[in-house]
Amino acid sequence: MATAEIVKEIPVEKARWMYETMVKIRYYEECMVQAYAEGKTPIFNIGAGTVPGEMHLAAGQEPAAVGMMAHLTENDTVTAPHRPHHHAIAKGVNLKRMTAEIFGRQSGLGKGKGGHMHLFDPKVKFACSGIIASGLPPAAGAALAAKMQGKNWVAVAFVGEGGANAGAFHETLNLAALWKLPLIVVVEDNHYGISVPKEASTAVPFNDIRGVAYGMPGFRVKDNDPLEMYRVSAKAVARARQGEGPSLIEIETYRYLGHFQGDPEVYRPKDEEAQLRKKDPIPRMRNWLLEQGLASEEEIAGMEARAHQEVDEAYAYARESAYPQPEEALADLFEPA
């Protein structure tokens, strides 16, 4: 955890927001572990239960989302990959409708058509997609639109370290650098692309260096540190807002759970999760808030309670919502004239 210095850079309300949001994300994902398991025991059947289909959870990866999103407004665009809940929550996506979407309900963001990998909340300019690295080009397009419209809005695309080897990564970074677009690409290095460890997918140890190939700054955040992510993101966002062009950030982060729920995880050491959890950024940040006198135990408890309540309400909303009518499957293909 960054030392006392960062206190000068980070407004207290941002620090508290980051903590509360991390707690919210974590609790959201833990609730999802439960919700996803409903109807999948004793036999795990991916298509059964309250929440069917694939489920990629982000417990442990909160710092990437909150450290960046602390600098964004509703006018800034975020695109996320197949593991999108932490980004969505930090970006302020409507939590009730997001949860309803994941539950396949009519009140969901996409009326139940999208599901957990396809969450769209245009009000806060959030989108995600299940195809690796496919969010990068549209984010560059959002950045281009901002530039064309003379706005100082920025766009941020999140991608896994595995996704940094996709062609879309290269093409988008080159385009953004060439056109000096207000784009920031954040690589979340959780060490795995499904089962494949970074050293088996990526020819260089760290992706920040790849900025060199585009004449763009590359930043690296170690140890899943939310405060360092905040600091680095501040620089990248400021650059982008000032018209100085794109940046690349790689953050070392932790994937506590399997790639998706139900992952047998044969490919990683049995105690890896436990080891990672020892360095959990949430208690680290909690301690730091206390140490720095930015929040009292009581205040923290209040933040935690609020976060939990919001999540509980979102899940309750989802559960209470109705399923769409079958024939609605035929609606929404095209915008009517």
């Binding site: 989108a127 080009p137 549209p138 959002a142 064309m148 988008t172 929404d332 293909l333 915008e335």
Partner: protein, 340 residues
Amino acid sequence: MATTAKSRMLTGSKAMVEAIDQEMERDPRVFVMGEDVGKYGGIFGSTTGLFEKYGPTRILDTPISETAFIGAAIGAAMEGMRPIVELMFVDFFGVCMDQIYNQMAKIHYMSGGHVKVPLVLMTAVGGGYNDAAQHSQTLYATFAHLPGMKVVAPTFPDDLKGMMIAAIREDNPVILMFHKGLQGLGWMDQLDASIGEVPQEPYTVPLGRSRIVREGNDVTIVGIQMMTVHAMKAAEQLKEAGIDAEVIDLRSLVPLDRETILRSVAKTHRLLVVDEDYQSYGMSAEIAATVAEAGLYDLEAPIRRLAIPDVPIPYSDPLENFVLPNAEKIAEAAKALVNM
């Protein structure tokens, strides 16, 4: 499109450029991106003169990064811009199809209709000038098979203009295919069909409606773009043989104007579908299936398809001529059908 006092003869490409130009004047959100669309004016002339008029902020030359720039057009469209993006040859779709079919075409649906993607992807199709296997395809069915995008392929200059304007104003993603041989380019075969009366004023031609370009009673010939042109020539030959062919220019693959085809077949009782795309799993199959489903009892002869016989487009002249349908082959097939 009725010609007016203010219409002139224009080539296909000039008609298309005029459409883009008029829409760019009308709507500041419209801009163009693509390879060589700037000073060069588009390899197939689809942006000639626009760079000079609108400059590099609205006519953007791109790197050879189709995934990035088509994806960027999608992102810009989601933010309320109205991009026109060029994929130089349709044959190149393989480097960027994910953005096209998994993002552009699905976002509206996946978002429950909450996100609009108003984008025109224009792309050149067609062979017949020995550009071989990777630069001569039409791939009509490849795009039309995948839901969420409108796919149109106008044949004549007036439709090129009217459908381009309609596509730009449309709130959905539209693939607009133009046929290289019908753009009236100075460096291609000069075909009469590539020049036509085009009204000066902006106007729209609705997407999704075919046009009967020749009425007839003996056989229905359905074509699109170059195959429509060949079919019209074939109809002249057939006339001499006493056969009165009806020729339908499809114009649009998605939506597909099934009614016009069915109505025509109900009248002629015979159907020949001509396609410059690969035959199997192609447009010709969809038309045939439509009639076999909804117009079966109207048929007095088996349906006949004429299309690329499921090989890549070969380079050499005799080989390419062999695989491409033309007026003679169409007339022959129609005759056989009528004599059945």
